[in-house]
């Protein structure tokens, strides 16, 4: 470990254990412009000699420790997978991008038919790949979030208050994300996106356990569904709102999460344990993709595949648009 910053004893121990288990080095880096949740740049994703955990410069105490604990857990999952069965991520190729964008387009058409104010064609075309990527990013991150948080909660007792603050902050941010686009994107995708975050927060509220994480208690748009009677829910205008639909889909996604995440969170650190967590995450991601009918949108591939796909993203997008719209596309783009 290379750092000049003060670290609490359990965190120092955890970093050392991580380095020993994975036979690797971790460097801690403080940067003013770092993402609030920190960033992990790891040897299993990039061609590097050591792993780097970056966190915001204003995180000086337990907030920093929590980011490190979370990123080290993520690193252990990746490293154990690489060691045991091979580390793969959700990636995409030209064909899967086409399938995803085509489905989004069909759903957008259904929505547009009901709208008074139609979306300009150029915006509609831009939205297809933007939404595809949004779900790609979410599916590569979101399923790992409850896994990492549950593990940190059980193994790092002294970080629980810090964790609660970060989770509340993340929950609010994730729920606000896309809100300004609610009227633009097809309803289905707004609902699915919110449902995933709703299910994650609800799972964490039950697992950690922390009542304050309940979206119906804490998320302004969801509050109205707390204590609402079933009959009232089924018979009133609530059934037509995107937020209520997010709750309904989210409750189903919670069932998926609970089914797959029946894990002993308190076990000792070992490569086998983290490799098992990786398999759990992959299976849960697949189940969520299946539920959202996105299974043919993404493929499990090595990280190099994803990095190459990201470089080719614009080409894939253009090819998919051409395939969906044929020659019409040249008049619009």
């Amino acid at each position: 470990m290379k750092t000049n910053m003060p670290l609490s004893r359990p965190i120092r121990k955890f970093i050392n254990e991580t380095e020993q288990l994975l036979d690797t080095d971790i460097t801690l880096l403080r940067k003013p412009e770092a993402a609030p949740g920190g960033t992990l740049i790891d040897v299993y994703t990039y061609n590097l000699e050591k792993n780097i955990i970056i966190f915001p410069a204003n995180y000086i105490g337990l907030l920093k420790d929590f980011v490190i604990a979370k990123q080290c857990t993520q690193l252990l999952i990746k490293g154990a997978a690489a060691e045991k069965s091979g580390y793969r991520v959700c990636s995409y190729d030209q064909d899967s991008v086409y399938k995803g964008m085509r489905q989004i387009y069909f759903d957008a058409l259904k929505d547009e038919a009901k709208k008074d104010k139609k979306l300009p064609v150029k915006k509609l075309l831009e939205m297809l790949f933007m939404l595809f990527r949004q779900f790609h990013d979410d599916l590569n991150e979101l399923p790992w979030n409850p896994i990492v948080n549950a593990r940190v909660y059980y193994r790092m007792e002294q970080l629980r208050k810090t964790q609660l603050y970060i989770l509340l902050k993340d929950g609010k941010q994730d729920m606000d994300e896309m809100s300004d686009m609610m009227e633009i994107i097809p309803r289905r995708y707004f609902v699915l996106d919110k449902s995933m975050f709703y299910a994650r927060d609800l799972y964490l509220a039950k697992t950690l356990p922390a009542d304050k994480l309940m979206p119906v208690v804490n998320i302004p748009q969801m509050k109205k569904f707390d204590h609402l009677e079933v009959k009232e829910m089924l018979t009133t205008r609530w059934t037509h709102t995107a937020w209520y639909q997010s709750k309904v889909f989210g409750d189903h996604m919670l069932e998926i999460m609970e089914k797959y995440l029946s894990v002993d969170w308190n076990k000792e650190n070992s490569l086998d344990y983290y490799a098992n967590l990786y398999e759990t995450g992959v299976n849960m991601t697949n189940a969520l993709m299946d539920y959202m009918t996105m299974k043919d949108w993404f493929i499990w591939e090595k990280t190099q595949h994803l990095l190459a796909a990201q470089e080719q993203a614009a080409t894939y997008e253009q090819a998919a648009l051409k395939k969906i719209f044929g020659d019409l596309i040249e008049d619009q783009v």
């Binding site: 000049n4 003060p6 670290l7 609490s8 004893r9 003013p32 609030p36 915001p56 204003n58 995180y59 000086i60 105490g61 337990l62 907030l63 002294q158 208050k161 810090t162 603050y165 902050k169």
Partner: protein
């Protein structure tokens, strides 16, 4: 004239430290100290750069110079506590961080270092109180930063 030149050099040094250019910061601070050895901030900044360069004993000496000029310089006490912590001198580090947090109760770093030292000394209950205070201050700071980010 020397005072404004010292301030200019200190600002340059702070800029270098933010950019992790510690050697450059040291060179500028050497000049600032030569120009005005009675300026506590120059000593404090040099201690900060030296800690980043893992020159902990030298950093302590610089902090002591700053504190000889201004014994109520809370940030210098925090830096001294940090350097002592790195040398695993937990008892004097605890004393320095306690002094720092008494002078400036809103210094999250001072409370955090105090927590670590107490933990190392086996005083876990007291450590928990210090950590809680540090977290409270960090959260206030984080909410302010978040506000700035949103306004941008």
């Amino acid at each position: 004239m020397p005072e404004s030149e010292t301030i200019r050099l200190q600002k340059r040094a702070e800029h270098y430290i933010r950019q992790t250019k510690y050697r450059e910061a040291l060179a500028v601070l050497d000049q600032a100290i030569k120009l005005d050895p009675k300026n506590a901030m120059s000593w404090y900044l040099r201690a900060s750069a030296k800690i980043e360069m893992e020159k902990f004993a030298e950093a302590i000496a610089d902090c002591e110079q700053a504190l000889a000029i201004n014994p109520n310089y809370a940030d210098a006490w925090t830096k001294k506590a940090l350097a002592l912590y790195h040398l695993e001198q937990y008892i004097p580090a605890l004393a320095s961080s306690t002094r720092a947090s008494t002078l400036n109760a809103n210094d999250a770093s001072a409370w955090y270092i105090r927590g670590i030292c107490l933990e190392e000394l086996g005083k876990s209950e007291e450590a928990e109180i210090a950590y809680a205070k540090s977290l409270e201050l960090e959260i206030i700071l984080d909410i302010k930063e978040e506000g700035k980010r949103i306004r941008k």
